[in-house]
C-alpha cells in the first residue's frame, strides 16, 4: 500500500533540511526545525493531501517557528562555552569553505534578520509577502533586511570580500 506522507518526506526531506539550515544558520538546528515542522504536517495531512500543498505548508511552519524563536533572541543560537575571539583579518576565507563562511555569517545575524534575509533574497518574496507570512509590518521586514545586509557587508565581516568582488564585477 502506498504511503503518501512517507513518500513526501522521503522526497522533500533534503530540501527542507537545507531550508532549515538557512533559517537557523546551522545544519543540526535546521534538521530539527524540518522534523518539527513535518510532525505538524503529518497532523494536518488530511487537509493537505491530495488537494493541498504540503511542502508549502511545511516551509511556512518552519519559517514561523524560526521567526518566533528569533524573537526570543537566542533559542536557535548555539550556546558558546567559549567566548570566541574576533577572527584575524583574512582568516576565514583561507581556512573555511564558502559554505561554512556563509553559514557562520548567517549564524551571527539575529535570527529575525536571518529569516527575513532568507525569505527576501533566497526565496525571492516581496516585503509585503514576507510581512503577511510573518504577521508583522512591511516596515519591520524592510528594517530587518537592511540591517542584515549591512551586517553582511561590514568591512570586517567574513562576507565583505564576496560583496566587494561582486561590486567590482558589475563595474
Amino acid at each position: 500500500m502506498s504511503d503518501p506522507f512517507g513518500e513526501f518526506v522521503t522526497s522533500r526531506y533534503p530540501a527542507l533540511v537545507r531550508y532549515g539550515a538557512l533559517l537557523t544558520g546551522d545544519r543540526g538546528h535546521g534538521e530539527d526545525l524540518a522534523q518539527d515542522a513535518l510532525v505538524k504536517t503529518y497532523r494536518a495531512w488530511r487537509r493537505l493531501h491530495p488537494e493541498g500543498d504540503p511542502e508549502a505548508y511545511t516551509r511556512q511552519v518552519m519559517t514561523r517557528a524560526a521567526w518566533r524563536a528569533g524573537r526570543r533572541l537566542w533559542r536557535f543560537e548555539i550556546p558558546a562555552a567559549v567566548l570566541p575571539d574576533r577572527p584575524a583579518d583574512g582568516d576565514f576565507p583561507e581556512r573555511q569553505g564558502t559554505a561554512d563562511v556563509v553559514l557562520a555569517a548567517l549564524r551571527d545575524l539575529p535570527a529575525t534578520q536571518r529569516v527575513v534575509l532568507v525569505l527576501r533574497y533566497w526565496a525571492g518574496l516581496s516585503e509585503q509577502e514576507i510581512a503577511a507570512q510573518l504577521g508583522c509590518s512591511a516596515g519591520t521586514v524592510k528594517s530587518r533586511a537592511s540591517r542584515a545586509i549591512t551586517a553582511l557587508r561590514r568591512a570586517d565581516g567574513p562576507l565583505a570580500d564576496a560583496f566587494t568582488l561582486t561590486d567590482d564585477r558589475h563595474r
Binding site: 538557512l22 526570543r72 553559514l103 532568507v118
Partner: protein, 348 residues
C-alpha cells in the same frame, strides 16, 4: 547584489546532506515523543485538577507561592557551581573557557576581576567586583532609569520620580528576563567606556536571580546567549489577592489609581486574561517597547518589593504580559487599550 546573495546562500547549503538516513522514522519518533510529552502533561494537569484545583485557584488569587518542582528545576536562587555551570534558581550559565568563578568574601581584597563570574551569597559581599556577578535578587521587581518627578506633582509614590520600564527578553528555555539597558543602546556600545565601566542588570524574576554585567553590549549578549533557564512559572498572571493601588508607566507618561472601583476593574481585567503563553511560544524581545504595571498590596509600604510588577511587551505581533511572581499571558490590543483607559494614560 540580490543575485549574488542568493548564489551565496545556495552555495552554503548545496552540499548539505541530512544526518538522518531514515527521515520518515525520525519524524515519526519525534511525533510520538511530542505526543508522550503532551499526554504526560495532560496527566499532570488532570492530577492537579483532581487534587482540588488548588494551584489554579492560588494563581488566580495570588494567595500563595508556587509549589516547588522536583528535579532541580525550582531550586535555591543562591548561586553555586554544578557541572561546570553557575546554577541559580532555574538558571544555568556555562562557565566560559578560561574564566574563573569566585565566591564573594569580605576577606578578599578589593578589585575588579576580568573574565570572572562572582557568586554573591546572602551575607556581606565584600568589595570585590567582577565583569559578571550572579546573586539572589532582593526583589523580583526590575530596576530601570529614574526620571525625576516634576515639582509639586501630587503625593503619589512617584513623587521622587518614576522608574522606566526594563527591556523584555526571553531566555533560551523560556524564562522571561528584564534588562535594565538595551544591549544595542548607545550607552552599551563598544568603546564608549573603559573596560569594566559598563553596567547592566539582567533580572530573572521567576528564578529570583540577578545577573550584573560590567561589559559592553556585545560581550553581555554572548553571556546572555549562553544562559538557559527553564522555569515552571507559566500560567495566568499571579497577582496579589488584595490590592490598594495600581500604577501604569509608559514611555510617555504614567497613571495611578487607588479608588477601589477602578482598582477592582483593573484587577478583574488582568485576572480575566487566560491566553497563557507556553515557554516554547514566548517571544518578547528587545525590539519591543515595554510597559510597567505596578500592583501594590495594601501594606506595608507601597512601591517596595511587596509590590507585584507586570511587564507588558507591546506590539510587533508578540504582546505578552509577564508577572514578576509568575504567569505569562498574551494580551490583545483591546485589553491593552482598556488597561490604559482605566489608568487614564496613553492613547485613549
Amino acid at each position: 547584489m540580490t543575485e549574488r546573495i542568493r548564489e551565496l546562500l545556495d552555495e552554503a547549503v548545496a552540499g548539505l546532506e541530512p544526518e538522518h538516513r531514515d527521515p520518515v522514522g525520525a519524524v515519526v519518533r519525534r511525533g510520538r515523543a511530542a505526543r508522550r510529552r503532551t499526554t504526560a502533561l495532560a496527566g499532570i494537569v488532570t492530577f492537579v485538577l483532581l487534587a482540588g484545583g488548588l494551584i489554579a485557584g492560588q494563581r488566580l488569587t495570588g494567595a500563595a507561592p508556587f509549589p516547588t518542582v522536583d528535579g532541580g528545576i525550582e531550586q535555591s536562587a543562591t548561586p553555586r557551581v554544578v557541572n561546570g555551570m553557575v546554577v541559580a534558581g532555574a538558571m544555568q550559565l556555562p562557565i566560559p573557557q578560561g574564566w574563573r568563578v569566585v565566591t564573594a568574601d569580605p576577606a578578599n581584597k578589593c578589585e575588579t576581576m576580568a573574565r570572572t563570574i562572582l557568586l554573591i551569597g546572602s551575607g556581606n559581599r565584600g568589595c570585590q567586583n567582577a565583569v559578571v556577578e550572579v546573586s539572589r535578587a532582593r526583589s523580583r521587581n526590575p530596576g530601570g532609569t529614574l526620571i525625576p518627578a516634576k515639582e509639586g506633582n501630587g503625593t503619589s509614590p512617584f513623587d521622587s520620580g518614576i522608574i522606566t520600564s526594563p527591556v523584555s527578553i526571553t531566555l533560551a528555555g523560556g524564562e522571561p528576563g528584564w534588562l535594565s539597558s538595551d544591549l544595542d543602546s548607545a550607552e552599551m556600545k563598544t568603546g564608549r567606556f573603559p573596560a569594566n565601566n559598563y553596567h547592566n542588570e539582567l533580572l530573572l524574576p521567576w528564578s529570583q536571580v540577578l545577573v550584573q554585567l560590567r561589559m559592553d553590549g556585545t560581550a553581555d549578549r554572548r553571556i546572555i546567549e549562553s544562559i538557559r533557564s527553564s522555569p515552571r512559572r507559566g500560567g495566568v498572571l499571579t497577582l496579589p489577592a488584595k490590592v490598594e493601588s495600581v500604577n501604569l508607566i509608559l514611555s510617555d507618561g504614567y497613571g495611578k489609581k487607588s479608588d477601589p472601583p477602578t482598582v477592582d476593574q483593573v484587577m478583574r481585567l488582568l485576572r480575566g486574561q487566560t491566553d497563557t503563553v507556553r515557554d516554547a511560544d514566548a517571544c518578547a524581545s528587545p525590539g519591543q517597547e515595554s510597559v510597567r504595571l505596578i500592583v501594590d498590596p495594601p501594606d506595608p509600604v507601597p512601591g517596595t518589593s511587596n509590590a507585584t510588577t507586570v511587564i507588558i511587551a507591546i506590539g510587533d505581533g508578540c504582546q505578552e504580559a509577564v508577572s514578576s511572581t509568575g504567569g505569562r499571558v498574551r494580551l490583545s490590543d483591546t485589553t491593552l487599550f482598556r488597561l490604559k483607559s482605566l489608568l487614564g494614560v496613553g492613547d485613549r
